[in-house]
Symmetry: D2
Subunit: 316 residues, 4 copies
């Protein structure tokens, strides 16, 4: 069966799925997203694009932004970043503070909140928050080749007003000297990157460099080195779904990063960049139908990175 039909089928199945999880309700702009939404975009290595469902409706990408900010920070400071953030799965929830105490303010990896806050602190780099925020937005627009991508200020503002746990994480790391800027400034960057509003199409476009040895296939320009692209994929596979990362890898066999807005970006190296979105979350905070859609996609296409025959041959 060809990819287009697979995407069509999955989108139809997900639209009809009875158990859709629960929409995140900790801030009003997320709480009011209709639970019936499902979108999917699959962009192949050759540029072919397969869309399903609400693939063009923008949503809050939230933690998926951590992939892009990590990429930027590695570009800025290189492997020195790893002195301030670890590379191991945390075995804990996304916003746990326990591990920070026993490990002296060094977050376990850049995809839990604490780690992403350190990454935001790196991106701040002594400048005004607005400058770092503009840089992130510019980077994502360039990756996606779409200047219409924007940040939802109402989301950023709501996070800033109620994100006490993130203030706690940031203050805590600052007490260990692992935050160089005032908490409020670093979090301003963090909350704005999380408030990026993108559709599945835009997200899959932005993720192409991760399937294409670090290059943007549209421009041919290198975003990161091939080795770094592989390593970001490895981090996504091991840490991309918090304490549900093992389950996701077990079921789909693909690197992926989820966000509390219900989106997931997944990568089949050399084959496809994939974005799914459905706002209902499972009990671990990952998109319930998004994860299910990716599991079915991987099963029907054989795109698991652990598939012996190799992705390229089975994707035809």
């Amino acid at each position: 069966m060809d990819i287009a039909s697979i995407v069509d089928d999955i989108a139809a199945e997900m639209k009809a799925a009875p158990h859709r999880g629960r929409v995140a309700d900790y801030i009003p702009p997320l709480a009011c997203v209709p639970i019936d939404r499902f979108g999917m975009a699959v962009i192949m290595a050759d540029g072919t694009c397969h869309l399903g469902g609400d693939a063009e409706e923008p949503f809050s990408i939230q933690s998926i932004s951590k992939v892009f900010s990590l990429t930027l920070a590695l570009g800025a400071v290189g492997d020195a970043l790893w002195q301030r953030v670890g590379r191991e799965p945390s075995g804990s929830a996304f916003n746990s503070i326990i591990q920070l105490e026993t490990e002296h303010g060094i977050p376990r990896n850049p995809f839990i909140n604490a780690g992403a806050i350190v990454v935001a602190d790196v991106l701040l780099g002594g400048n005004e928050p607005g400058s770092a925020i503009a840089g992130i937005l510019r980077f994502v627009r360039t990756l996606a080749g779409d200047e219409t991508i924007s940040i939802d200020e109402s989301v950023a503002e709501a996070e800033h007003r109620t994100g006490f746990r993130n203030f706690a994480l940031a203050s805590y790391m600052r007490s260990f000297g692992n935050l160089l800027h005032p908490v409020d400034q670093t979090l301003r960057v963090y909350f704005h990157q999380c408030a990026l509003s993108m559709s599945c199409v835009q997200l899959a476009l932005a993720g192409r460099y991760l399937m294409a040895e670090g290059r943007n296939p549209a421009t041919g320009l290198s975003v990161v080195s091939p080795q770094r692209a592989r390593r970001i994929n490895a981090l996504m596979m091991l840490c991309g779904h918090y304490d549900n990362s093992g389950e996701f890898a077990f079921r789909t066999g693909l690197p992926g990063k989820s966000g509390v807005g219900g989106g997931i970006l997944a990568v089949a190296p050399g084959v496809a960049s994939i974005a799914v979105w459905s706002p209902g979350l499972n009990e671990k905070g990952n998109s319930q139908l998004g994860a299910l859609a990716l599991e079915r996609l991987a099963a029907r296409t054989g795109w698991s990175v652990f598939q012996p025959a190799g992705p390229s041959t089975s994707s035809g």
Copy 2:
């Protein structure tokens, strides 16, 4: 450069490496293994075999045996196993007991000691320990196609006499009802499987089904389904090196399982089954030169599962 030369080069580099880690010294049979050993065996999908260094010298495979016992247990009880063991990285040391308390006696995954003890309890299945041990030995001999593989009784006996932490883990899980047999019997199975003595060649031969969609390429017989082979690989990648799993995946991009005897089994799906051995361990309890050798092998061959071009094309 061809694989044979790459293996030769790496073996020579490792033989000469100055920093070799520390040999495990908690039991005499392990403590007396010479630190200068290094072996490597790479078995390609077509059956070609490339050896380097002490590839034919047997060593104690220890925790690598957990891959084989997990495979057997899944064959015995199927996915019901996952009601007694999790599938998430633990974020903790191999013998940590903390997580067991907060998660009510359910180990995080089958590759930490607690999880492997539950797996051994499954294999015991109401029979005598000797019967389960014989079953494991028979399975590994069949996988490797080598009837000379044996269990080192002196190792098993030493573990049994001094393995107080494993007794603690087993007793603790028994208090939660997650061990069905007397602690002493289950641990007898566990200590014997860990005492399997194998060379790199034998180990790489035994691991072939993990690169070959679950089939033993020598016999063409199915060991596990293709899906299960992929999933065991996913578990190895996320949990195969305890709280160093992220680092290993980041550096090599391959599923792998290490043992305190200094061995590592790694898999390049569709391409190669790889075993390395050097008894000196890093501070996380994984083979220092073994991990380095695999990192170099992956870098020079492009065998990372995250390599876009696909393993098969870059392995020629």
Copy 3:
């Protein structure tokens, strides 16, 4: 109001109390104790004895025995004991193993299970378990002046058969070198001391040295030094009720040690040795009516150690 009337009143109130907690049911000999029991014995400094309810019915003293074994161990090895056991409240449940991992096998205090197992190991002292058990029994009989006190072998045997958590704690400490004898032998001592069967009267008699500057008022002989008696009282106050110690101190203001059999030994220094018993436990594993009875006794007599007027004047 005089003490006799106070005791009478409290016994009557407790007999009629509707909410009696839950009887421990983890071993059959404890599970079958009738929930309607309540006993109380108050022995004054001058030897006067006030009994209420089922004060002469024997029950399993369980963890209250830790006070007597600690006293014996301090007599045997003195303050060297504190190199193997701490003196701080644990903030955790009685059988938690988490703290042992982070503190390298040194239990937080001698009144949590792990600490009491180390104390039992000290009492074992290279001899046969039977010898240590006989020593503990002899000591308690002497303290109470009652040769009829005995150990309930059916309780000890049931604990031994099902006490997997204690096996885990002991094995775990042995892995840190903080247990000098085989786990099975040390636990034999521990399970037997916990199986001491005593009535409230016997228990209050045995506890007299703790109110009387370390002397047995019946014989005039010194059991421990006055300083050591004060210190054991301090330990009881801070650690005698596991993670409910603060609550007990807050409500009664008296040092006390509870047991899962429903007994509590409490001390009003210079004034009275008090034992209460009711088998129903609260959610923290302490006697629900026993704690309530002591709270009322302290309130009506003014026996709190924090009572400014001093215990002696208000006890008349």
Copy 4:
């Protein structure tokens, strides 16, 4: 030996003590306090006052203020306070955040930082921070009968600028809804109460109600009920020295509360209110010589609350 001589002797011994601990250096105003200082004030129930060393030199009382703020908060909201703060020893360092995560934002007791911040939040009560701060200052001045007691603004300001861990604790509790005011306002109150500057004499005067059944002996007015005074003493004994509380109770047998400025307030109920001060801290953050001085005082006077003869008779 009479109390005056005991105080003289101890002050002389402490002045000459070679091992004085380390002065807290996390903010400049504390770091510059000379290590050679030692002061002691003992105020007897009859009003007699015994001073030793630098008893009249003001120092930053820091966490000792938690006793006074707790007293005020209990006056304001009564036992409803205990729905927001626990009454158990924490078994952890003063600024640990781990327990807050597992216990959903409810601090273990009012004497660890998190608990005292909740207490400050109660005192804020919807008013301006300045109003709450003035209320605390007024209360302490009244207790001590000394209108010259003041708050060191430079200390409060330095804490506010660098107290990231306290910001983390406050933000974290706010995320659980256990802080009702903006973090910055609650912490303003907290940092100011900690910056109270008092001498040993002033501190011992302020603590008199805790030895005198809740009454201020100078005025005869009730500060708290006798029961509440006993209970605050119980809390001080169980939780007054963080994870060193057991050690302090074991050695001195007195309720006490320490501060990182090197002061300790201790109470011998019915007998004396005692303040000591020496800026050098032990590894647990409590005054090294202060604790030693109290241990000697208790030993020489027999003022332990566990002293059978009763405090009143041995204090003559």
